[in-house]
Symmetry: D2
Subunit: 345 residues, 4 copies
Amino acid sequence: MRVAVIGASGYTGLELLRILLRHPDIELTAITSERNAGRAVADVYPAFRALLDLSFEAVDPPSLAARVDAAFAALPHAASAPVVRELVKAGARVVDLSADFRLRDPATYAAWYGEHAAPELLGQAVYGIPEFHREALRTTQLVAAPGCYPTSALLPLAPFLRERCIDPGTVMVDSKSGVSGAGRKADESLLLAEMAENCRAYNVGGAHRHVPEMEEQARGLAGCEVRFSFVPQLLPAVRGIATTVFARPTRTMTTEGACALLEAAYLEEPFVRVLPPGETPSLAAVRGSNFCDVAAVVDTRTGMLVLLSALDNLVKGAGGQAVQCFNVMAGLPETRGLLEAPFVP
Amino acid sequence: MRVAVIGASGYTGLELLRILLRHPDIELTAITSERNAGRAVADVYPAFRALLDLSFEAVDPPSLAARVDAAFAALPHAASAPVVRELVKAGARVVDLSADFRLRDPATYAAWYGEHAAPELLGQAVYGIPEFHREALRTTQLVAAPGCYPTSALLPLAPFLRERCIDPGTVMVDSKSGVSGAGRKADESLLLAEMAENCRAYNVGGAHRHVPEMEEQARGLAGCEVRFSFVPQLLPAVRGIATTVFARPTRTMTTEGACALLEAAYLEEPFVRVLPPGETPSLAAVRGSNFCDVAAVVDTRTGMLVLLSALDNLVKGAGGQAVQCFNVMAGLPETRGLLEAPFVP
Amino acid sequence: MRVAVIGASGYTGLELLRILLRHPDIELTAITSERNAGRAVADVYPAFRALLDLSFEAVDPPSLAARVDAAFAALPHAASAPVVRELVKAGARVVDLSADFRLRDPATYAAWYGEHAAPELLGQAVYGIPEFHREALRTTQLVAAPGCYPTSALLPLAPFLRERCIDPGTVMVDSKSGVSGAGRKADESLLLAEMAENCRAYNVGGAHRHVPEMEEQARGLAGCEVRFSFVPQLLPAVRGIATTVFARPTRTMTTEGACALLEAAYLEEPFVRVLPPGETPSLAAVRGSNFCDVAAVVDTRTGMLVLLSALDNLVKGAGGQAVQCFNVMAGLPETRGLLEAPFVP
Amino acid sequence: MRVAVIGASGYTGLELLRILLRHPDIELTAITSERNAGRAVADVYPAFRALLDLSFEAVDPPSLAARVDAAFAALPHAASAPVVRELVKAGARVVDLSADFRLRDPATYAAWYGEHAAPELLGQAVYGIPEFHREALRTTQLVAAPGCYPTSALLPLAPFLRERCIDPGTVMVDSKSGVSGAGRKADESLLLAEMAENCRAYNVGGAHRHVPEMEEQARGLAGCEVRFSFVPQLLPAVRGIATTVFARPTRTMTTEGACALLEAAYLEEPFVRVLPPGETPSLAAVRGSNFCDVAAVVDTRTGMLVLLSALDNLVKGAGGQAVQCFNVMAGLPETRGLLEAPFVP
């Protein structure tokens, strides 16, 4: 299958290259980058020397559509929608990793991102968490790969939302992310000299753009409005998201019961690993892999449900999950190219 | 003033040496370590070469009591109480950094740590957060320096607990600590190869020994029972604790109002810096200093109060705060030796 | 092909598991660890959960020999030789990653490691750098996988040694290694709190056990005695070796000429990437991969040849190169299972 | 003494603020930054909140000269000379941390940096390593604080150069620096996501601007031309320079003899710590301090002299040494404000 990666200069694009290079059914046919157009990928990113012969090209959707069967788009939001529209029109399958097709409601999109350039596609796009939307993914032409934070919060929460056994009024989420989540951009606050040994929250108080996405998906799972109080943080690390969720159970719950609910929900899932009671996820155990590790604890003193998850923001939080969705959409085995062992140590 | 550091081989002890060396009113007279007794401090810790001429000695409370006016004890819990008892009996002022004198109630101590070796001193010890107990510290002979996590959670919470404007039923705390908090011990899980790029929670669900301490102090501040759901985490960093607190306001609250409450509470405090609305604390801005930076945000979507704090676990979370207490107890200016700029970058 | 990993609890063993799991011609049949015998690998190393069903077993060479076609031994030196002897006797192909079979001369071995337990095998073992010994590897039954430092120094040096265009009297090598090279052991000096932001040399002055190995191989390449002045250093990083070599050319040399010599030597090599003049290797560009990047510069002011290399100590420096040797020995394509893109960012 | 810091937005300027704030004889009177002029220092750098009341101002040499007794200039090279000229003319003492006054010969300056803006001052400036130029510093009005790399290489080398017991033809230096040495600038290659777990050489082959400085000072020490082959490297760390020097002894030398030579040379020096034979410097033992730790080893196999040093590039490599020079120039005790313990762990 001939595939293009559109917007491959950022960390998400690079990770897609890394994953797609080892995918046995995919042939990387085109790689675009406005900023690096004309240069060999291996010259810009020496890591890919001897592995990849392509040069970056500028985005030209009609030309791309003629040469590929599918495309992964890793463009900034707003820039993505017009490109995706042309590719979809030309018949290509598209996995879009921007925020442009994650929200069903154009008004919500407008409130967080500005006017939408291709609102007619919003109804057609499927939100790309296969654990929730596998059937819809099989038949869609357009996948909206989710944000890294929503994936990390929703996977442990989903069974409890579906069972309606937690208070949907306020779910509290504290998520710690490696700095690759902030993208590959020359920003003083992301220098090693600033972030080594550092940790800081940002966009606290309902200000982060992943909130509407989490709430929309949670509503779909719970069948009612769910509100999140979300605190994102930057870690002194490159990759990974470690998420803590506090939720109030609406019925008596034990750690064992909560773990059993997770176990039952994810028994057949290849990429969600439910930890036994007493164990906690760690970024080290998922780094570089498409796994999301989840655990549940009921606090003995307060009765609160505490959920923990760990994933690699560039893999299960971005490029890996995008390929997982692609596999489903393309009728391939869902784990194809993705059962890589975590990068330890 | 002649001072001893008892149990100076761990990270807390080392940090005390670092701080006391620059304190103008203190003469370091004795430094103990069972494991290194007889060896020059500078041979064991080359960082102190050319700065410190003393050798480690074994603990001998009567001998120490005869040679010093005060002692900082950084021994493990249970090991500390008998030594402290002898020093106190001999008339020395003591700042104890173990858990042995933090809890008022011997039964609570027994439930978390085992039987107490010197229960008669529990009533006499003052919990060492000067921002809460300054008056009592002025006249005590024994200070129980608090845990690093309780300091980071209680400083931002205190004004809200005192005003009784949050629900005491469940305060949720997610605290991320540098690995120096786990001590200087040969433990595979703390190797750089294991913890670099890692982040993981531990002792989740009411299992961490700092919980009773937080609850006892919070009860003192609020005048009622307060329950904490506490999640400690290890960061891929050496120093620092970044804490997020979620609490439900019991009356309508705005970010500005919450910040104003913090401002009013800490206006005169030299070591608590209240950030203006919209700013968030970062470990980088407090590293190496005795500051605790605090901030408040009210989540616009849920109405939840989110408090954030950052401190250096070895300074305001341990050695620095111990010296701050000592200054108060000894009638010295409270900031003496402690107004060092943070270690940036 | 059924394969065992013997001594799989350390970082080298773990990396072998990671690599072998993705090797299409290999079936992992047995994994041994004295310390973890009887426990599921995935229980001891949660990263491997859902990927690996085996349990650790104790080493029993006869039983292993009956069940596998080949074995990778990652035991400590001296412990390895007796196990390897039995496996070889039983007909298994063995790649040994200890130091036990790297030196041809039993006296040299004895001087650095003590008496050898299976000296009769020394003549039979082939030193496992395929770029130097490919033909011998095709027909051997026993491979001595080299040390990580020698690989990083010898690959850039080899063309110059072969051409006899540098002074063999003193080659100076400064090598910086990630801490995984020191192994997975509870050692205070390797804690994150000790090694973060640190860098320190050790075993300076001809004291490191990789020196005789480098000198023996260099002698083989140059046809004369070569002496190394070797300075190993620990970096505040998990993986990677960055090596600087200073050598005195014996004839006039330019940067372009030196680069051309490297280019010519490695044109057909899949895992040695020669950088163009002006570029320098970086650990980031090889991390997680089996590549060794090499570069040459002739210092304009002194005429000295400066060689630089970067490799991942656990891949091209250990497990990856071991598998590369295995592929050659087993008649498989040499790159099988090894053309993974580096782990960026 | 009223003092200004000119160009205080970079890491060197920040470190000067940190050090000067604790200097008992200095009153920080003015802080300049073009880019931040008009803003409170504590607003731009929250670490300094509650410690520093000043606002950044634009550079105006006449106004500064009227208000201060001395100035530390941390401007880029070329930008510094004109400002320094005006300050010197107005009678202020100046410690310049740029490269503008480090070289005696205007032609050498021109070859590396371009035409000099104030060549008449070159003869007047004293190179700011007090261990070499203490007497001249006592009477000068202008100090040229040296580069961080030259300090780290010259301190261990000086006794051997003075004794003329090493071959001056080629001294080989491999220096590993924390990224703060590259300055506080938005540069993608310095992001945490790029430099964490990385290590890479740059400006290899006689291309680094610190080479002429090293050679000029070495010539002064040895009384003959000395040539350096210099390889600078970036470490995945914020601070520190760890330097390895290889030099060929011109007479028989032992490790003990080499150490004794260092010991004798630095016996009275407060900031150079000579390690006993067998110990090696580590960045951790000097971080945050003005110490330079040095060690010598003679390689038993090759006879080469290997020198090792560690210092904090922002302290002994920049701001700390600048203050040390200032103390000498101002007739204060040389260690005033500088005997801070290293920042461990």
